[in-house]
């Protein structure tokens, strides 16, 4: 099936459910495991990742198709994507710091973490490999971020409740049990497969 014929809306929902970037592609695990201990931070990081993914996906699409392809520099895509993401994060950080102190205190501290979040770079690499159009890549970026945010917020909720009520084998505490819970979430998301297919 022709990829470019898929409606952006379908891609958006597929990126959240069947192709969830965290639960099916394992991207963005490091900050996911470390931050999901705490609900408030998870909400903040989830929002920041969604925003950055939504904006950098079309940016990277433009850079790739309008700069790298005409000059036959595709092999530089890794360096260029990372630079675009880092520069974008830096600019957003400075803007938020100027414009809104409360927003800076809730989102700003997470922004440096995002530059090296694999989910953002992975999103850019996937949209190039799958050959999305501009609109599709906007939808895909937003979907990737929203899917990632959904996963981290869900896990944070489970972990906060578990802290109060359940006892975990000491060896499994922390990352171990978080991985098992993520595995169960991933199994639940496997249930979505077959609804839509985008790759």
């Amino acid at each position: 099936m022709d990829v470019q014929a898929i409606s952006p809306l379908v891609i958006f929902f597929a990126a959240i459910t069947t192709n969830n970037i965290l639960l099916t592609n394992f991207l963005g695990m490091c900050s996911f495991l470390a931050i999901s201990k705490d609900m408030k931070s998870s909400l903040g990081l989830g929002a920041a990742v969604t925003f950055v993914a939504l904006c950098t996906a079309p940016l990277n699409w433009m850079v790739y198709h309008w700069l790298l392809v005409p000059f036959r520099l595709e092999y530089l895509q890794y360096i260029v994507f990372i630079l675009v993401i880092a520069a974008f994060v830096q600019i957003v950080e400075m803007m938020i710091e100027r414009l809104s102190t409360p927003l800076y205190l809730t989102l700003g501290i997470f922004l440096p973490l995002i530059t090296v979040n694999c989910a953002i770079l992975g999103c850019a690499l996937f949209l190039v490999i799958r050959g999305y159009t501009f609109l599709q890549s906007v939808a895909y970026g937003g979907g990737c971020g929203a899917g990632w945010a959904l996963a981290i917020v869900a896990l944070a909720g489970i972990r906060e409740r578990m802290k109060k009520r359940s006892k975990v084998v000491p060896e499994l505490e922390g990352p171990g049990i978080a991985l098992i819970l993520t595995g169960f979430m991933a199994m639940a998301f496997v249930g979505f497969s077959g609804i839509v297919r985008i790759n």
């Binding site: 695990m29 996937f126 000491p170 098992i180």
Partner: protein, 209 residues
């Protein structure tokens, strides 16, 4: 930094088990866990990762006094990205099929937290040879765990090892081993076993940077 310089051999051995990046720090699983349903792909990714951590640690340790502190993350990322591009070009040239199968995951070695973790946490403050050994050790320690996971997932899920069928044909394949959830379960089990073997509570200083 610490008064006594770390010797290369102790830096290498420490990363294999005591400070194993996956089992102790749970770092850097993103880019490789996804391909652990096939031993062959895992091996290629792991070799790429070992090459990247070792080389970038070496280069950054050599340059450590010349890198301005404010932009050090950016410099590190660029050096790492350069090595990853080398891997990508080599793969495209010699193993084009595998390169296509791995897709974006080769590029994602750049944002693998282990590479950044070692350059930022060790190479910035140590001599080049020790940093090279530390990077090598981190890469090898990481690869051992990931290969162990792949060695469980591929036989159970596809009945083969390294693409060669090893289980009888009437073996019922465990479909779950091929899809994503089993990656999480397998890794959690490995962390569990490793901590049981090590004994005692996990040390407090071992959180991700």
């Amino acid at each position: 930094m610490s008064p006594a310089p770390v010797t290369p051999s102790s830096a290498f051995r420490r990363m294999l088990w005591e400070d194993n990046p996956v089992l102790v720090q749970t770092l850097g699983i993103c880019s490789t866990l996804a391909v652990t349903n096939l031993v062959k792909n895992t091996l290629i990714m792991c070799l790429g990762l070992i090459f990247t951590t070792a080389c970038s640690s070496l280069v950054i340790a050599v340059l450590r006094d010349r890198i301005p502190k404010q932009v050090r993350m950016m410099v590190q990322v660029l050096i790492i990205a350069a090595f990853v591009i080398v891997i990508k070009i080599l793969l495209d040239a010699f193993l084009p099929d595998i390169s296509r199968e791995l897709g974006p995951y080769v590029g994602l070695i750049i944002t693998n937290c282990i590479v950044m973790g070692r350059t930022e946490g060790f190479a910035m403050g140590n001599r080049p040879l020790a940093a090279l050994a530390d990077g090598l050790g981190a890469g090898v320690g990481y690869s051992l765990v990931l290969l162990a996971i792949a060695a469980v997932r591929e036989p159970l899920g596809l009945g083969s090892f390294f693409g060669v069928p090893i289980l009888p044909t009437d073996w019922t394949r465990w479909n779950i081993m091929v899809i994503a959830p089993s990656g999480f379960f397998a890794l959690a089990t490995f962390i569990w076993v490793a901590r049981l073997v090590k004994g005692g509570a996990p040390r407090p200083g071992a959180r991700p940077a």
